[in-house]
C-alpha cells in the first residue's frame, strides 16, 4: 500500500482533490491511502508518507518543503496549476505513476 500526503496552504482545498485522486487509483485497481494536510504539517506526517504532493498554492514555501522532504529521501511532486485547478485525478495519478 502506498501512502500519499497532499499538502496545500490550509489543507482545505486539497481535501477536495483527495477524493478525486483516490478514485483515479481505485479505477485502476490500485490501492492507496491519501490524506490532505496544511503544508506546515508535513513534518508530522512525513514518516507515514511515501509520496508527497504539493499544491501550487504553497509554491512560496517550496524551498523549505524540499529541504524537509530531502531529509527523508522523498522528492515532492508539485502539481501543475492546471491539473490542480481542474481537480484532474486521472492526470495526477499518471504524474505519480510516471515519477
Amino acid at each position: 500500500m502506498t501512502n500519499i500526503l497532499l499538502v496545500c496552504q490550509g489543507g482545505m482545498s486539497s481535501s477536495f482533490l483527495v477524493k478525486k485522486i483516490h478514485e483515479a487509483f481505485t479505477k485502476n485497481q490500485e490501492e492507496i491511502q491519501i490524506i490532505s494536510k496544511a503544508s506546515m504539517e508535513i513534518v508530522d506526517y512525513i514518516d507515514w508518507a511515501d509520496i508527497i504532493l504539493v499544491s501550487p498554492s504553497v509554491l512560496y514555501a517550496m524551498d523549505e518543503i524540499m529541504e524537509v522532504c530531502q531529509e527523508y529521501g522523498i522528492i515532492p511532486i508539485l502539481i501543475p496549476l492546471e491539473l490542480y485547478g481542474r481537480m484532474d485525478g486521472d492526470a495526477i495519478r499518471k504524474l505519480i505513476v510516471n515519477s
Partner: protein
C-alpha cells in the same frame, strides 16, 4: 511578456515570498490558522443559541442563561489557545518539541496578564483577572507569548544549552531537555512583567486603537479587499501573508462583541467597528476575491469548459475555497481576468460599508468567526439579522453580472483556439 514577468517577480513576488517565509510570520499564520479552529466550537454554540432564540419564551429561562454563559466561557479563553498554537507553530518551524513550547507559551500568557491572588473572607485564594483579557481581546499578547516561548527555547536548544539526560526514558528526556529553557522563558516573562512593571495587555490595547482606526477605515478596508486577490493573482496564497493583518480585525471583532455584551445596539453611533473580521467573512463570498458570483456565471456560460469548471468548483466555492477557479480557469497570471478579480471585492466591500453604516444591516459583533461556513449562513450567524442574507445574495448576483462580459470574451477566445486546434 517576459519583461513584465521579471518586473513583478522582482518587486512583488520575491519580497512577499520572503515575507511569507519569515519564521515569525509563518508562526503567526500557522498559529492563528489552527487557533481559529477553537472558535469553531464557539461558532457551533452560537448557532445553537441563535436557534434557541427562535423558541418563544426560552430566552428568559435559567437554561438559556446557563447556555449563554457556556458560550461566553468558550470564547472567553481563546487567547490562551492562541498563545499555545502560535508557540507550537513556532516550535514546528524551529523543529523543536511543539508541546513543550506550547505549554511555555501558556505560562507566559498568564504571566503577561498579571492575575492577582485575593484571599476572600473564608480564607480561600481566588484567582483574579479581567476575564476579557483571556479571550480574543488578548490576541496580540498571544502572539508575543507564543514567539517569546518559541524563540527563547529555540535559542537554548540550538546552542546546546540543555540538560544532558541520556539513559533516561524518552518521555522524561523531553522534559529534561527543555527544563532550562522553560525556566528561563518563565523567569524572563516574569521579570519583564513584574520587575520592569510592563503591562503588555494595556500597552497593546492603547496601541491598537489607532491601528484599528486606520485598518478599519473605509480606505484601509478597500485596500485589504484588493490585497487578497492581488496576492493570489501574482501566485501568493493570501493566507500566507495576511494573518498578521487579520489579527487586527479579530481584535476589532472582540471590541464589538464586548460592546454587544454590554447591551448596546450594534450601530456606528454606539462605537461599533464596521470593518471587523466578521464583516470581512460576511462578504468573503467564495474565497479571496469573492469568486462565488464568478462561479455562478460560469455555470450559465455558453462554453462547455466553463460550465464543467463551474460545476467542479461550486461545492468548494460554497465553503469559501476557490483554488479550483484560481488555478483552473485560470485567474492567476491571467491578464483577461485581472480587472474583475480585483474590482469585485472592492465593490462588495464598499457597498457593505455603506449598508452597515446606514444601519440597514446590523454590524457584525460576533466572535463566531469561521471562514469555511457558507456566506449566506455566516451572514446570519455573524449579525443575527436576516437582512444580512439579502445583502449577501444581492452582492453575489451583482458580482456574477460584473463577471459575465469578461467570461463571454474568454469563451469566444477559447472557442477560436479549440477550432484552430481541430483544424
Amino acid at each position: 511578456m517576459a519583461i513584465e514577468k521579471k518586473w513583478h517577480e522582482k518587486f512583488i513576488v520575491d519580497p512577499l515570498n520572503k515575507f511569507a517565509n519569515l519564521r515569525i510570520i509563518k508562526s503567526i499564520s500557522g498559529g492563528i490558522a489552527s487557533g481559529v479552529n477553537i472558535l469553531l466550537i464557539g461558532s457551533i454554540l452560537s448557532i445553537i443559541s441563535i436557534l434557541m432564540s427562535f423558541i418563544p419564551g426560552l430566552k428568559e429561562t435559567e437554561f438559556s442563561v446557563k447556555f449563554f454563559a457556556l458560550k461566553e466561557l468558550v470564547f472567553g479563553i481563546v487567547g490562551v489557545f492562541f498563545a499555545y498554537s502560535i508557540g507550537a507553530a513556532n516550535a514546528k518551524y524551529n523543529k523543536i518539541d511543539k508541546q513543550s513550547v506550547g505549554f511555555f507559551a501558556v505560562i507566559v500568557y498568564y504571566i503577561f496578564m498579571r492575575p492577582e491572588f485575593v484571599i476572600d473572607e473564608n480564607g480561600i485564594t481566588l484567582f483574579q483577572a479581567e476575564f476579557s483579557k483571556f479571550g480574543t481581546n488578548g490576541i496580540f499578547v498571544s502572539l508575543v507569548s507564543g514567539l517569546w516561548a518559541g524563540e527563547i527555547t529555540n535559542f537554548f536548544k540550538k546552542h546546546g544549552w540543555v540538560m544532558k539526560s541520556e539513559g533516561l526514558p524518552e518521555i522524561i528526556q523531553t522534559w529534561f531537555d527543555y527544563l532550562i529553557a522553560g525556566t528561563v522563558v518563565t523567569l524572563s516573562a516574569w521579570a519583564f512583567t513584574d520587575l520592569l512593571n510592563v503591562d503588555l495587555f494595556t500597552i497593546f490595547s492603547t496601541i491598537l486603537i489607532p491601528i484599528i482606526d486606520i485598518f478599519s477605515s473605509f480606505w484601509g478596508t478597500l485596500l485589504l479587499a484588493a490585497s487578497g486577490p492581488l496576492l493570489f493573482y501574482f501566485g501568493i496564497h493570501p493566507l500566507s501573508v495576511l494573518y498578521p493583518v487579520f489579527a487586527v480585525y479579530i481584535a476589532a471583532a472582540a471590541h464589538n462583541a464586548d460592546l454587544l455584551a454590554r447591551g448596546l445596539a450594534p450601530t456606528l453611533a454606539n462605537g461599533f467597528i464596521i470593518n471587523n473580521y466578521g464583516t470581512l467573512l460576511m462578504i468573503n463570498l467564495g474565497g479571496a476575491g469573492s469568486t462565488l458570483g464568478l462561479n455562478i456565471a460560469l455555470l450559465f456560460s455558453k462554453s462547455e469548459t466553463h460550465r464543467k469548471l463551474g460545476r467542479l468548483a461550486i461545492l468548494p466555492g460554497i465553503l469559501n475555497i476557490n483554488e479550483p477557479l484560481i488555478f483552473g480557469l485560470p485567474i492567476i497570471f491571467n491578464p483577461a481576468f485581472f480587472i474583475p478579480y480585483v474590482i469585485v471585492p472592492i465593490i462588495n466591500q464598499a457597498i457593505a460599508y455603506f449598508v452597515l453604516s446606514f444601519g440597514w444591516v446590523r454590524i457584525p459583533a460576533s466572535l463566531a468567526l469561521s471562514m469555511h461556513i457558507p456566506s449566506v449562513i455566516n451572514a446570519y450567524i455573524l449579525t443575527e439579522d436576516y437582512r444580512a442574507i439579502f445583502l449577501v445574495l444581492i452582492l453575489i448576483t451583482l458580482d456574477a453580472l460584473i463577471w459575465v462580459p469578461f467570461l463571454k470574451t474568454h469563451a469566444r477566445q477559447q472557442l477560436i483556439q479549440e477550432t484552430q486546434k481541430s483544424n
